[in-house]
Amino acid sequence: MFSLRDKQLADDIISQITKAKVHLRFMHVCGTHQDTLVKHGLDALLQRCGIEIGQGPGCPVCVTTPKEIEEILLLAKHGKTIATFGDMTRVPGVSSSLQQMKTEGCDVRTVYSIEDALILAEKHKGKEIVFMAVGFETTAPTTASVLLRDPPLNFSVLCCHRLIPPALQAILQMGELKIDGFIEPGHVSTIIGTKPYEFISRKYQVPQVIAGFEPLDLLMAVWMLVRQIQRGKAVVENEYVRAVKQQGNKKAQHVMQQVFEPMDVKWRGFPMIPRSGLRLRKKYEPYDARKKYEDELQKIAKEEFVEPTGCLCGDVLRGLISSKQCPLFGRECTPENPVGPCMVSSEGNCSIQYRYTKK
């Protein structure tokens, strides 16, 4: 459906980018974009046209902090039933991983949707179900929508949702990398629309293009960024018009607003990023696992947890190195035996790199 394949058009885009004779570095923040780029060899192709393009902190599973992993592991250890998305269960924490704990007898369920976790809670009233909610603006409304339905009180959420625009600003503020343009995640943008990105272009003079996920979408987005730069512009453009409306999805935004409020959170590899995370509003406190199990979590509340020894996920997520520059890549660290989350998640830079170039 809506197939976007056209070899001639792709060649024309590449030829125009080549003619521009530029040397630029762009960042995107989406595992699906990275997958398209590597799978179709677009990253290498664009490099030959003078364009470096890399993934920033765009993998919700990867940016969860070691502390959040320890929180969920502790709750699993204390007999709660943990429900979360597949990738999350394999992320190694300091002490263990959810998958490991499952083999040791803990109750860990992989779900496709938060609704599956809700069904578990409805079916097993005697069990305490904790849903580990990870994901950006794309996923947060699904969590909110379930909480608005008055779920049973044996259901709670360990909220690890994060927001994209504050992270983009953090990257620019840290200034470790010169970024000439951002390719913005299409599906996050279906929810938030184009406006929340605008302050970034205004404040930092960085062009941005919201892009879809077909190879042609990404080539076109790169072309649009180059065109902005050639014209001395820095604005938010939308390449993915078939799915992203300027105002986003108002209904989803409203649902999020009702349930969540922004808070300052750390991201893996990043210091605290102001207002980049979501927590449940006071009204939904009975469903907030951090409040509900405050006493149990107290034990680790003040503890700091470090990233796995030798793992450079932090640098990968800040766009400073490519996965292959990590000495553990493909040696100690493989998808079967991941050391860091970027090798676990199908959206993680290391896992994508391994998938298409190691086999």
Binding site: Q16, E115, H187
Partner: protein
Amino acid sequence: MCLAIPGKIIELDKKKQNATVDYGSGTKRKANVSLVQVKIGDYVLVHAGFAIQVLDEKEALETLALFREMLSLQEEER
């Protein structure tokens, strides 16, 4: 994780909360449609069991033509 798959709404409950979505080649699944306003026949993007946006069929069909036009305009400007 932000992966969203396009599909067509083929069934819709009365309250317009749940739908059956056809993803082509025989794959059909239930999806929650409470976050969008849809009718039968609409194309939606589904993420983690929820439709998150309605696809604009007209825009989708015109995407390639639009790209071509943008490129040729740029070519003329040179």
